[in-house]
Symmetry: C2
Subunit: 286 residues, 2 copies
């Protein structure tokens, strides 16, 4: 069988994964959902034709979006996760016993159900008693909350389709209000390399710094995302992602990771010159 | 015109680039050489079907393989570059006025000629009077030299075909001898992500640490190489890649780079946990 899933990273660049078979294909109220089994990457989740995660490299994304803020903020108890119906961020969060509540706002309940059935590697902790699932638009959910969360993780899809509202000034402003006075927001921040991704990255940064007094970008190597060079935003009211990193405290937890280390944490914030320039371009226009 | 160049990163993963036209195709004594014009990446060089460089992202590879050792070693005068017929490493080296001699040993003279004609962006400094080109096997060239170079840059192709000899214990041992007592060798070190690349990376590390007392790996985001997560080796007799990094001295040069910065330099050595483990596996068996 010669069956390939392809994603166009730009109109002129294509990334293709050989698949054994399609495990699921369905249309929810919001998007088309597909799950494939592949020899190289294990199971892969595809939304509207865009690859969301693979079992082989999802650990990189989920470790980096969760452990980076948790190694900085000294007492995270209440967490809001927006998007992330696959459960990967929740799985990493449940490794922290001091986290008492994880609210998950995912617009598409069908994604949650499909992942529970076909992607147990990521969805394995969705039944943890601390997890409260709200099947609703994260944009609307966050409006109703104020001064409540220590950490908000915005695990959105790309800035078009159902995830579009999660890249707006209104949304980031509401996240700011929903955070406590020392809260942190971390968000998936697109990629700097291909032109359209870089423009989306700059737009997101512009809108975030309109709401947050301090925001820094960090990076990871995610082989199945366009260009493999992926960014996250780290926006805070109080803590600095490097000056307030407490390596000894985090390492004393004994959490075993495959990508994240507190040393790598520092390096993740040391960006290439051209990425720094893109961010400065935005900041100078503030 | 719907014309695509594809490279299989593994038998199950394919990366494809739309091309406008083929500018050159020829067979040298060693390999097939192709140059394409592409809308996303500009001109691209392909050897035996493997993508070697694109005009859009070659700056990342060439800046990282040259400026990283130059920001550590305080007085580089004589440099040997092995491979690198495209001229990209030479271009970056010629930006340092204190470098008096750049010997280039490239096995395939036809690669040099083709790049001079079709890739002026990288080959633009091959006529610098400090550059001495030796069209011969780097493995043989380095055998004849002892205690001569401050820096050796091994800009090899992959560890099969004409580049195979540049991944052997004998070769690394001869590089050690060809270096002065405070010399540095930097080499392209494959990728940690896909299994076969990771095995090649571990083999290279094993052979290098049989010759060099100290060797560390550093990384960069290179979107057009398999997985986008690429490694370099930094092997020394004396200098430490971080403790001997002199940021003030390098920044005083005023060299403008698009990827490399002395801050990024540090982060490039902060590797993901799984890569550290792969290297430790090799080091424990020493």
């Amino acid at each position: 069988m010669d069956l390939w899933f392809s994603e166009k990273h730009t109109p002129n660049v294509k990334f293709s994964i050989r698949v054994d078979r399609q495990l699921y294909s369905g249309q929810s109220d919001f998007q088309r959902i597909d799950v494939f089994e592949s020899p190289e990457f294990g199971r892969i989740l595809v939304l509207d034709g865009y690859l969301m995660l693979t079992e082989k490299d999802e650990f990189i994304y989920h470790e980096m979006i969760v452990h980076t803020p948790l190694a900085v903020h000294p007492h995270v108890k209440n967490v809001l996760v927006i998007g992330a119906g696959d459960g990967g961020a929740v799985r990493e969060l449940t490794r922290y016993p001091e986290i008492g509540r994880i609210d998950l706002a995912e617009i598409d309940g069908q994604v949650i159900e499909v992942c529970k059935k076909f992607l147990p590697q990521t969805s394995c902790k969705m039944d943890d008693p601390r997890v409260h699932i709200y099947v609703e638009d994260g944009l609307k959910f966050v409006r109703r909350h104020a001064d409540e969360y220590d950490l908000i993780i915005v695990d959105s899809t790309d800035p078009f389709g159902p995830g579009e509202g999660l890249f707006t000034k209104e949304f980031y402003g509401n996240c700011y209000k929903a955070l406590k006075e020392d809260g942190i927001m971390v968000n998936q921040h697109e990629s700097p390399f291909y032109e359209q991704d870089a423009l989306a990255m700059q737009r997101a940064h512009k809108r975030i710094i309109e709401s947050f007094p301090f925001s820094r970008i960090y990076q990871a190597h995610i082989p199945t995302y366009p260009s493999g060079h992926w960014l996250f935003g780290f926006s805070t009211k109080k803590y600095h992602p490097l000056k307030d990193l407490d390596e000894a405290r985090w390492n004393a937890r004994g959490l075993k990771c495959r990508y994240y280390t507190t040393t790598l944490h520092r390096g993740a914030f040391y960006l290439p010159a051209y990425v720094e320039e893109m961010l400065e371009d935005v900041e100078e226009k503030r």
